[in-house]
């Protein structure tokens, strides 16, 4: 029997810009167990509801993560609106949907670029990020921000997008689709990429169900946990929505799902632009959340389902606010996918799960 060795992975590692540590128990070159450790930069943002009222707290939620910043303000606002029984104008729902799907495009392009860099395809990395810049330019033009948008608030949105700008966004997305379609082949057809990804870090459908995995990680194992299927908000207005699924369960399937989701998000944004109704974008909330009132909300972030919970206490300050991020529930799946892999495949497996430690250490 081979002797066990423990190799520390992280918290500083070239494949991850954020701190997560794994104790990898090896037998020869094979990983037999992986023990995760987080909490290096836990910021206690949930506790800040004591100091910031429910309107101010929107801007805290945006700062949980630089990639899903709009999504967190969207999910938080939806949760507080559900708590206070506020119905926002339809145009605001559409605008939120547009910005959220654009966030998904930029998040996936960022991740695909990082994945390309880890394969050693530096030019592909730069192409992905070049295309992503077009989406950030849309953010800047419509909200003034490229990372923190501050566009969403309890009651609707703070900015409107004119019809001319919406037409411009639609045209830009046509260019994005054209440019992106030229590089997707490198991810999905290249032999070198496939040899690094196919049959690596396998997670079966049953394991994904047992471990409550969410997001593209789950959809790559043929498990549909996509909250967009519930049709909440503007997603209910789409003519049809079928999540991108794969039966592969390996690293390649995760790349495939994210690569195809970029096209899907472009279609969603264009459809929402075509259908967006005219009207108000904001309704002023009245009063404060009732004492003891509770509400939950789920939103499909780029990395998967995010859960929000709010509890009122009769004042403008919430008693409790909770965010369960996709990565925190995917940690168990990551550890399972690592079992039995080769040491050299560990960085690629972790990368294809796309953990966001910034979200997890909220």
């Amino acid at each position: 029997m081979a002797k066990s060795t423990v190799i520390p992975f992280g918290p500083q590692h070239p494949v991850l810009p954020e701190p997560v540590h794994l104790d990898l128990v090896l037998e020869d070159e094979k990983v037999v167990e992986a023990i995760p450790r987080l909490g290096f930069v836990h910021r206690g943002l949930e506790k800040l509801v004591e100091k910031k009222d429910y309107n101010q707290y929107v801007f805290i939620t945006e700062r949980i993560c630089g990639i899903c910043s709009f999504g967190h303000s969207y999910g938080y606002s939806q949760c507080v609106e559900h708590l206070m029984d506020i119905e926002i104008p339809p145009r605001a729902e559409y605008l939120r949907g547009i910005w959220h799907e654009l966030s998904r495009i930029h998040s996936h392009l960022l991740w695909l670029g990082l994945a390309a860099d880890s394969f050693g395809y530096e030019n592909l990395f730069m192409q992905c990020w070049k295309i992503r810049e077009r989406v950030l330019d849309i953010f800047e033009k419509t909200t003034g921000g490229r990372v923190i948008l501050s566009a969403c608030n309890v009651g609707g949105t703070l900015y409107d997008i004119s019809d001319e700008e919406l037409a411009g966004i639609s045209n830009t997305l046509d260019i994005v689709r054209d440019e992106y379609s030229h590089i997707t082949g490198a991810f999905l057809k290249d032999n070198s990429v496939r040899s690094r990804l196919v049959d690596v870090g396998y997670l079966s459908k049953q394991q994904a169900l047992d471990l409550s995995i969410v997001g593209p990680f789950a959809r790559a194992s043929n498990v549909n946990n996509d909250v967009r299927c519930l049709g909440i908000g503007a997603y209910g207005e789409l003519a049809e929505f079928e999540p991108i699924m794969s039966e592969g369960g390996d690293c390649f399937a995760r790349v495939e799902v994210r690569a195809k989701e970029v096209f899907q998000s472009i279609d969603i944004v264009k459809e929402l632009i075509d259908k967006i109704p005219a009207g108000e974008i904001f309704v002023k909330p009245k009063g404060s959340p009732a004492e003891g009132a509770e509400a939950s909300m789920r939103l499909e972030q780029p990395r998967g389902e995010c859960y929000y919970y709010a509890r009122g206490n009769g004042t403008k300050f919430l008693d409790r606010f909770r965010i369960r991020t996709p990565t925190s529930i995917n940690i168990a799946g990551m550890v399972t996918a690592l079992k039995g892999c080769e040491l050299a495949d560990v960085p690629m497996i972790i990368l294809t799960i796309d953990p966001c430690i910034s979200c997890t250490e909220r």
Binding site: I35, R37, L38, G39, F40, H42, G44, E46, K47, E50, Q78, H82, P90, E93, L209, D210, L211, S212, N224, N225, L230, G231, I232, G233, A234, G236, E237, E294, A295, S296, M297, R298, E305, Y307, Y309, R311, D319, R320, R322, R324, S328, I329, I331, A332, G333
Partner: protein
């Protein structure tokens, strides 16, 4: 537009294990577990589940720090993350976690930071641990034997 629906239900803490097993048997998906401080040494644990196409089901349990709360991580492995988090941030004792960090999951500066409202004193307490503001030892002086 379709509206999001959820439901909240309070259960007794003796029913936690039974509730988790019944959810597993009905192929429900575990979503979340978190704690809320309700008062002096009184907490609410909220367990959330869903079955595809149904409302989010939230089950709440009232506990104190003296209670031994049974872990559900043997039924839903993913819960180990949230149970360790609750132990470190609220000081709630959860028994039988399959991967128990025994209070070493989060590197927090205060004991049970979420168990009570924060005060200004917390920021400057001498009891803070892992305090980033603590001056780093003068390494050169230690090598010369001039500082302990």
């Amino acid at each position: 537009m379709p509206k999001y629906t959820d439901k909240f239900e309070e259960i007794d803490k003796s029913k936690i294990g039974e509730m988790a097993k019944s959810k597993k048997d009905t192929s429900a998906r575990f979503i979340n577990l978190h704690a809320t401080t309700l008062g002096e040494d009184l907490f609410q644990l909220t367990y959330s589940f869903t079955t595809d196409g149904t409302p989010t089901e939230n089950y709440s349990v009232k506990v104190t720090s003296a209670d031994a709360v049974p872990s559900i991580s043997d039924t839903f492995m993913t819960a180990f993350f949230f149970e360790n988090e609750i132990h470190d941030l609220f000081g709630i004792n959860i028994e039988g976690i399959i991967l128990d960090y025994k209070g070493d999951f989060y590197q927090v500066a205060l004991d049970r930071p979420m168990a009570r409202p924060s005060t200004d004193e917390d920021m400057y307490s001498v009891n803070r641990k892992n305090d980033a503001n603590t001056p780093v030892k003068d390494v050169d002086a230690v090598e010369k034997g001039g500082d302990e």
